[in-house]
């Protein structure tokens, strides 16, 4: 079982090396999908193993898979399979992946796996920073000034933001050292809890949360996100929006657990409520007048990160479980949406909303998953995001955050109008010109259909997932 912990970190590095050596050989196109399947397999295997026999540690305790880490690894795998399978290049696609591209995507997956599996908060930081390094050239892959600008903003803001988190982690280490046991191990820090110096811990936690919030795309530190997510190639956008944000958010959840053990729940709650509501407000405002559909999806990610922040602020078993399910549901549906956006771009040759018309009549193979994915993201039943949003609002109401939930609901309504309006403008209407196409082979639809079905079904048929999510929430201290 120990192999399941280190395989998803080590194998991507090896495959990346092989892909660079092999340059543009055909198999490198499948290499990333192989890595994604491996991460998913290890994630599901770890979920089962942790469920049966508890936390697994490897590499001298440096890697530690508790129920939460195992769940997050499975989410990374599931989203990566959707994004990379759905984003496999076709003869007509604009992105021609080479060996270097394949290597960077593999390293990206490896870094995300390390970020959720590492027990040492310092190593978590190194892994989160490594995701920036791996994706920098992927964001700029298309070339041109816009991609260059996006890559520059992404690397500078990402690294500077995450550097703030390092400052926080360093101070946390200092607090642990003055409490008599110098450690950065998350499990040990949570156990140390009340013996940490509260003044020091308060600064440390605030800085660490702020730093990781930059990477998680929470307002007001989100300004790199719409640029990077709209300029990157479709599968990379799908991975960044679908799961990288959640991986950074999982670091915030770890910091929150340390904070709760030391300072009680109110300190982080304030930070998260402010960040969450601000993210929702900014996303709602900028979605209304959006002209670019990839940026629209990017702002939708900011919106969902805001919902996650509110859920984390509420805390407790119900909201924490809802946050975890929301991570999975949002990851899958956002991956589908970015893959479809890539196909629309191949078809229309533009990312402007006004250049895309009557998709449902012209390209039903693209329009159907696009509509279904939009419904999922907007939180319509039967998709799971409906149930998780209801659960978060309900839990917030019962735990004294009713006012925040009221504002959030209003903002979600604005999002609903803004997002829905653009989606309808793109899909509805009679075809203006040109023959309608039946679309590609069924194999291209399969990953999208699979991901959307999972998102639709496990909302009300989550019984096999229930103990898994409960255990993951408990591992985060959500049962307090």
């Amino acid at each position: 079982m120990v192999a399941l912990v280190w395989l998803p970190v080590v194998v991507p590095v090896l495959i990346a090396g092989a892909a660079v050596m092999a340059r543009g050989r055909r198999w490198t196109r499948l290499a990333d999908l192989v890595v994604a399947v491996l991460v998913l397999t290890c994630g599901v295997g770890l979920v089962a193993s942790v469920q049966r026999s508890g936390t697994v540690s490897a590499v001298g305790g440096l890697l530690r898979a508790d129920a939460f880490a195992a769940f997050m690894l499975a989410v990374i795998g599931a989203v990566a399979v959707t994004a990379l399978w759905g984003g496999l290049p076709t003869p007509t696609s604009t992105v021609k992946p080479d060996g270097r591209y394949a290597a960077l995507v593999a390293l990206f997956l490896g870094a995300m796996s390390l970020a959720v599996l590492a027990d040492n908060l310092g190593v978590v930081w190194v892994a989160v920073e490594a995701t920036t390094i791996a994706t920098a050239f992927l964001v700029g892959h298309h070339g041109g000034r816009a991609a260059l600008e996006a890559a520059w903003k992404y690397v500078v803001l990402g690294s500077v933001g995450v550097a703030i988190a390092l400052l926080g982690i360093v101070l946390l280490y200092a607090a642990a050292r003055s409490a008599g046991s110098p450690t950065l191990s998350w499990a040990e820090l949570v156990a140390l809890g009340p013996s940490l110096d509260p003044g020091l811990a308060r600064i440390a936690v605030a800085l660490a949360a702020l730093g990781f919030a930059t990477k998680a795309g929470l307002a007001p530190l989100h300004s790199w996100l719409p640029d990077a997510h709209s300029q990157a190639p479709a599968p990379v956008s799908a991975l960044m929006s679908g799961v990288l944000l959640s991986v950074a958010f999982s670091a915030i959840l770890r910091v929150q657990a340390v904070s709760e053990a030391t300072l009680g729940p109110t300190f982080m709650r304030g930070l998260l409520v402010v960040g969450g509501l601000l993210s929702l407000a900014i996303a709602a405002g900028l979605m209304l007048a959006q002209r670019d559909y990839k940026r629209l999806l990017a702002y939708s990610s900011i919106e969902h990160m805001g919902i996650l922040a509110l859920g984390a602020a509420v805390g407790g078993p119900l909201a924490t479980a809802a946050v975890l399910l929301h991570v999975l549901g949002h990851g899958l549906s956002k991956a589908v949406m970015f893959v479809v956006a890539g196909r629309i771009l191949d078809d229309a040759g533009s990312t402007k909303i006004e250049d895309v018309h009557a998709l449902l009549a012209r390209r039903p193979d693209v329009a159907r998953p696009f509509l279904a994915g939009s419904a999922a993201l907007l939180g319509l039943p039967p998709f799971v995001l409906f149930f998780t949003e209801v659960a978060i609002v309900f839990a917030g109401w019962s735990r004294g955050l009713g006012w925040a939930m009221g504002i959030a609901l209003l903002l979600l309504l604005v999002v609903f109008v803004g997002f829905g309006r653009h989606v309808l403008a793109m899909t509805m209407g009679p075809p203006a010109d040109g023959p309608s196409s039946a679309g590609g082979p069924a194999g291209r639809r399969l990953p999208l259909v699979l991901a959307l079905s999972v998102t639709a079904v496990f909302g009300f048929a989550a019984w096999p997932l229930a103990p898994v999510v409960e255990a993951a929430a408990a591992a985060l201290g959500g049962l307090s």
Partner: protein
Amino acid sequence: MSDALFAQLVAATTGLLLLTAVLQVWRRSLHASIRLLAVQGAALAGLVATIGVADGELEVVAVSGLVLLIKAGALPWVLSRVARLTGATREDSPRLNPTAGVLLAAVLTMIAYAVSQPVVAADLGPEARAVPVGLALVLLGFLVLLSRRSALSQLIGFVVLDNGIATVAFLTAGGVPLVVELGVSLDVLLVVLILRVLTSRMQVATGGTDLDDLRELRD
């Protein structure tokens, strides 16, 4: 090492760190900025070595060698390559004139002293009293990042910020565990290398490295 000598060495190295950071805000010549960065890296390595010798920890002394190699050697070298590549010698149009910059630097240093009170009060040893210098470096790095327009100056601001974080780490905790230290150093080096590549692409695409030329993406 006697306590008095230790206190003097810590004061000298942290003083040098702060001085180089303030000069960084003031000077516009990019070559001077890069040389200041090398001096700052050497001062940081000196601080680490002092703490390592005082605590009798060989690991920390070894880390000081690593710091010297990366912060005083590799990073300034990469940056001077960028400067030669782009032909830039001066920060032409900073958003801040030098006098205002130095005044702001003074204000930021005072803020650093004010906000680091809880850290100083936490009784982490005599060297922790110099923590405000580390925070001042972080804030001054931010100032350089925000007030300069050329790509190279932003890179320099990022390195100053990172030096500040390293200073806080060594003053409060004698450095982070070795595996984290190695990872962090590697990450910073890679980020600077990536920005170097992006800078040269920018030079090709826009004929300059003024970041204000890149203004296509907005809502």
